[in-house]
């Protein structure tokens, strides 16, 4: 207790010092006077009395000093002095300060940004209670590497009763619903449809109202309307954060609903990066169904949900898995018939996996590219550290005199060390602040690359306090790394030698020349070369758009499943809309399709020609409207496009690959094929058809730009396409127009005329969808290019610094050379030779680096062997150019030296 009080008193005493000084002097004077009196009484002479008193006291100045040290916190005072000194020094050399801070900001900022993305997308736990207890119960099969996070409703019901070891088993499904926005226009938004216990088992606390309960999840909904819980962001945007929102009614897809609660701002559902706007009871699926046929609760074998539960305390995941595997055989019969024959499910058994981090598409698809980017960012950070160490060393050299004087005046080595360290830390602090700002801004930019193709909603990654924490840690480590060594060297300076101007700095300087600068160039070389390869890959992929022209095409998804119309009526609607679009001003062509290119969705069926009926091939297929190929500018090689007359699957069009596959070179036009589609889970009904080929079109890239166009058969879109009415059967309009605005207004007009009560999603230019499908390649190409540029800049600066110092040092030598008759050009060459030699060593190192990392890098390339002469040459060219540029100024200064000046400066 006393200690704390003492500390507080000492802290307080640091501010306001003069009266106390007077007190101690006074007190000590009095002490001496009294002592002298005693001594006089004892019989000493006045001088002797005074002398003895002083001796016994032990020295006025020492006592006062000890007292002063006790009064305040000396180390804190020293720190404060060091800091203000460091600040002054930094201000006096702005070039050094700005270079160091910027270097630090770049290196640390880049790493913080990338790591935040990784943390947010892949590592962070869900913001719920005890996320480590969450598991999802799905299927695992030895044939399929991926865990299938899906559960069938009949199985789920049994699990709810019989499964031990978990509690709160809940099911999650989702759908698009329509809600009116502020202007009463219907908008399609995403909603999660969940069992009654789903939100409460997660342990989230609503900020307003309550969560859903099991009594909400009943057929038809409770009286008073369907209870709905709102997402926080949705509450802010659609309801303006109205605190009285609980109890308000709203219409969701035409159904009466009542708001019962609002979720906290950090909860975004189970899917990382996607925010559903609202949460409704699972039975709402029945309300969304267009007919009783599609009602999943009347046909539970069609209902599949995401099953989430909480592990009981003491139960491990492996124990649960064992229990599930044991239960699996007896539950097989409950799985839907069609599923049991699917290749993925044939050998599958029930299994559980941790759901701690939620479900993230980013984690699955982008894990490797993100790690690549992180490695590059770390390489850049290393470069920054090397640069900073070099800068610091040069600075220490420049301040040799100062350190020598201070040392001679009595400063201990530790003192000088501490002062240097404080300066490094101050730089680190300034750099960290800039880095944090940079990281904050970059995280948003980076997350833009992760939008999955065909989705209009960008993945939201939130930069948060984690960014700052990570930045701080990085900055601290960097500061210690580059601050320690030079600081230690600074303390080693021998004052006498330096003051006599004979101190050698050759050793440190050679370190910079032999190792630092070449190392920087090595890293820069590797980065420039790799980014060249990545950019090359991107260009090749972009040019891979085979078989269609995405420019000037607008894509918009129709939401007609909410209209309770028969399939024929919906088909008629599509036709009317297409006609209206085609006659709108500015629209060159319009059509609609079921599968959009490059989203990765590629349904398959089994087809065979009658000539070779035993050879059954699995090919992809699509349902398209009339005029589809004209709209996308896919060339028709033979026959014709679909017309309105084609209204069912009795006619079809093959692409070139399919024609070749099924008819092996013979004429396909006019012949027929047999196509069989087995029942599948994703809402696609089974069919078997014999269709006559009326056209052959060129191959078009289908599910991705990397894979070659697969053999495909196209059917005319018909009532059976929209038959099941679920979201999966929505067709997408393609509108070709010179101007995007024309397409948008044409669609809006047509929609208002023919289907005024449907919501519409956002418009997506097809070029953007193409870009989204190569999101990771774009990310890698852009970021690696950026980092390569930074690396080049830093290497150039490093080279410049070293050469400038070198010229300074060799002043005498150059002066002598000039005086003896060397031409200026020779001096130039002399300096440039230094630069080239460092570059050469660096290039060697860079080649080694590339060789080491080539297997890793190769995985990200497309159709590119790593040895591309063009890229190799341009890399070397760029590096040489940068080196020469950096060397120019010092070289010219050397050549322009006045020999008399140079010799005199000795």
């Amino acid at each position: 207790m006393g200690k704390l009080r003492a500390l507080w008193m000492r802290l307080r005493s640091m501010f306001g010092g003069k009266p106390a000084e007077a007190e101690i002097s006074r007190e000590l004077e009095t002490h001496l006077e009294i002592h002298v009196e005693d001594n006089l009484r004892a019989g000493m002479t006045p001088e002797e009395a005074r002398r003895q008193a002083l001796i016994r006291l032990g020295g006025m100045e020492q006592t006062q000093q000890k007292w002063r040290e006790r009064r305040t916190l000396p180390w804190l005072e020293t720190l404060g002095r060091d800091m203000s000194f460091a600040l002054r020094q930094l201000r006096k050399s702005p070039g050094y300060t700005i270079t160091a801070v910027l270097t630090l900001a770049l290196g640390v900022g880049a790493n913080s940004a990338v790591f935040t993305v990784i943390n947010d997308a892949m590592l962070r736990s869900l913001p719920v209670q005890r996320p480590d207890q969450l598991v999802t119960i799905g299927y695992r099969s030895p044939d399929v590497s991926r865990f299938l996070a899906v559960q069938f409703w009949p199985v789920m019901k049994v699990l709810q009763q019989r499964l031990r070891g978990v509690s709160g088993l809940a099911g999650w499904s989702g759908s698009m619903v329509t809600v009116p926005d502020e202007q009463d226009t219907l908008r399609s938004v995403g909603a999660d449809l969940v069992t009654g216990n789903a939100l409460s088992m997660l342990g989230v606390r609503p900020v307003l109202g309550r969560l859903l309960t099991t009594s909400d999840d009943v057929p038809g909904g409770p009286t008073g309307g369907w209870p709905v819980v709102l997402d926080y962001g949705f509450w802010l945007s659609n309801f303006h954060g109205d605190p009285a929102v609980v109890g308000r009614h709203m219409h969701i897809s035409g159904q009466l609903a009542v708001v019962v609660g609002v979720l906290p701002p950090d909860f975004h559902g189970l899917y990382v990066g996607e925010t559903q706007k609202m949460y409704l009871p699972l039975h709402f699926l029945s309300a969304l169904a267009a007919s009783s046929q599609q009602d999943p609760f009347l046909h539970p074998e069609n209902l599949a949900v995401l099953a989430v539960a909480r592990l009981d305390p003491g139960i491990t995941l492996s124990a649960l898995n064992a229990g599930l595997a044991a239960m699996s055989p007896s539950l097989r019969s409950l799985e839907p018939q069609r599923v049991q024959h699917e290749p993925e499910f044939r050998t599958a058994h029930l299994a559980a996996e941790s759901a701690r981090r939620g479900f993230s598409e980013i984690a699955e698809d982008y894990a490797r590219p993100l790690l690549l980017i992180q490695s590059i960012a770390l390489a850049v950070l290393l470069l920054c550290c090397v640069n900073l160490a070099g800068l610091q060393m040069a600075r220490v050299q420049a301040r040799r005199q100062e350190f020598a004087v201070r040392s001679a005046l009595g400063a201990g080595r530790g003192r000088i060390l501490r002062q240097c360290l404080v300066e490094s830390l101050l730089l680190a602090l300034l750099g960290a602040i800039c880095a944090a700002g940079l990281a904050w801004a970059s995280v948003r930019a980076i997350s833009g690359f992760f939008t999955p193709a065909g989705s209009a909603a960008p993945i939201q990654l939130q930069p948060d306090a984690t960014v700052l924490l990570i930045t701080g840690v990085f900055a601290l480590l960097t500061a210690l790394l580059f601050g320690m060594a030079p600081a230690w060297l600074a303390g080693k300076v021998s004052p006498a030698a330096v003051l006599k101007n004979r101190g050698t700095n050759g050793r440190h300087h050679q370190l910079r020349q032999r190792i630092f600068v070449p190392a920087q160039f090595a890293i820069a070389l590797a980065l420039v070369f790799s980014s060249g390869l990545f950019m090359h890959t991107l260009v090749r992929l972009r040019n891979n758009i085979e078989g269609f022209n995405p420019n000037h095409v607008m894509e918009v998804c129709a939401q007609f499943q909410a209209l309770k119309k028969s399939p024929d009526e919906i088909m008629q609607l599509f036709h009317s809309m297409t006609d209206a679009l085609r006659s709108s001003p500015g629209v060159q062509a319009a059509s609609f399709t079921w599968v959009t290119p490059l989203t990765g969705f590629a349904p398959r069926l089994e087809a065979s020609s009658f000539a070779h009926a035993q050879q059954v091939h699995s090919i992809t297929w699509n349902d398209v409207g009339d005029g589809y190929f004209a709209t996308l500018r896919t060339r028709i090689l033979a026959g014709r496009d679909f017309t309105r007359a084609d209204h069912d699957r009795s006619t079809c069009i093959l692409n070139q690959a399919a024609a070749g596959l099924l008819f092996s070179g013979a004429q396909s036009l006019g012949n027929s094929i047999k196509a069989q589609m087995p029942q599948q889970d994703s809402g696609i009904g089974a069919f078997t058809t014999v269709c006559r080929i009326v056209g052959v079109v060129e191959n078009a890239r289908y599910s991705s730009l990397r894979d070659p166009a697969p053999p495909t058969v196209y059917f005319p879109a018909s009532a059976s396409t929209v038959g099941r009415g679920s979201y999966n059967n929505n067709l997408v309009f393609f509108i070709r127009s010179q101007n995007a605005r024309d397409a948008i207004s044409a669609y809006r007009a047509a929609l208002a005329r023919f289907a005024p009560n449907t919501g519409y999603m956002t418009f997506l230019p097809l070029t953007e969808q193409v870009d989204q499908s190569i999101g990771s390649e774009r990310l890698i190409a852009r970021l690696s290019g950026l980092f390569a540029a930074v690396a080049l800049l830093l290497s150039g600066i490093g080279l410049f610094g070293v050469l400038a110092m070198r010229v300074q040092q060799r002043q005498t030598e150059i002066g002598v050379r000039l005086a003896v008759g060397a031409s200026r050009a020779r001096i130039l060459v002399l300096i440039l030779r230094d630069a080239i030699s460092m570059l050469a060593v660096g290039t060697l190192g860079g080649v080694v680096l590339i060789a080491i990392t080539s297997t890793f890098v190769r995985r990200f390339l497309y159709d590119t062997s790593p040895v591309q002469i063009g890229i190799v040459l341009s890399t070397l060219l760029i590096l040489t150019a940068v080196a020469l540029l950096a060397a120019m100024l010092p070289a010219r200064r050397a050549a322009a030296m006045d020999p008399m000046q140079a010799l005199r400066s000795e």
Binding site: G2, K3, R5, A6, M9, R10, E23, I24, R26, E27, L28, T30, H31, E33, I34, H35, E37, D38, R56, L57, G58, G59, Q62, T63, K66, W67, E69, R70, R71
Partner: protein, 113 residues
């Protein structure tokens, strides 16, 4: 090295407090003289070390100081015990006596069975 100084400072602090308890309010010189006498001139070679110790005790709240007038009409700074200081002395004395008792038992020759 620091252990020795800590112990030294602790002992000095205790002696100062004890002195003030016995003598009542006293100025720095008086405390120093008294400690010297009590310890038989074997302690406190350096009067100067007293003043930082006094400051420390003052900061910890065991003693307070105020300016007063000495015997010879000099202005001197007088220190006296606070209540907390008094308690500290009592506790320290008790602990010290216990410690010495235990050590004494160790050092006494134990009778052979």
């Amino acid at each position: 090295m620091s252990d020795k100084t800590d112990v030294w400072q602790g002992t000095l602090a205790l002696m100062v407090l004890k002195t003030l308890e016995t003598m009542g309010p006293q100025h720095g010189y008086g405390i120093a003289r008294r400690i010297e006498q009590t310890s038989g001139n074997a302690f406190l070679l350096n009067y100067g070390t007293l003043y930082p110790a006094l400051l420390k005790l003052e900061q910890e709240g065991a003693i307070t100081a105020e300016w007063g007038v000495s015997e010879n009409n000099r202005k001197a700074k007088y220190y006296r015990l606070t209540r907390a200081g008094r308690k500290q002395v009592e506790r320290a004395t008790r602990e010290w006596k216990q410690a010495t008792a235990i050590v004494a038992r160790f050092l006494e020759p134990t009778p052979e069975p």
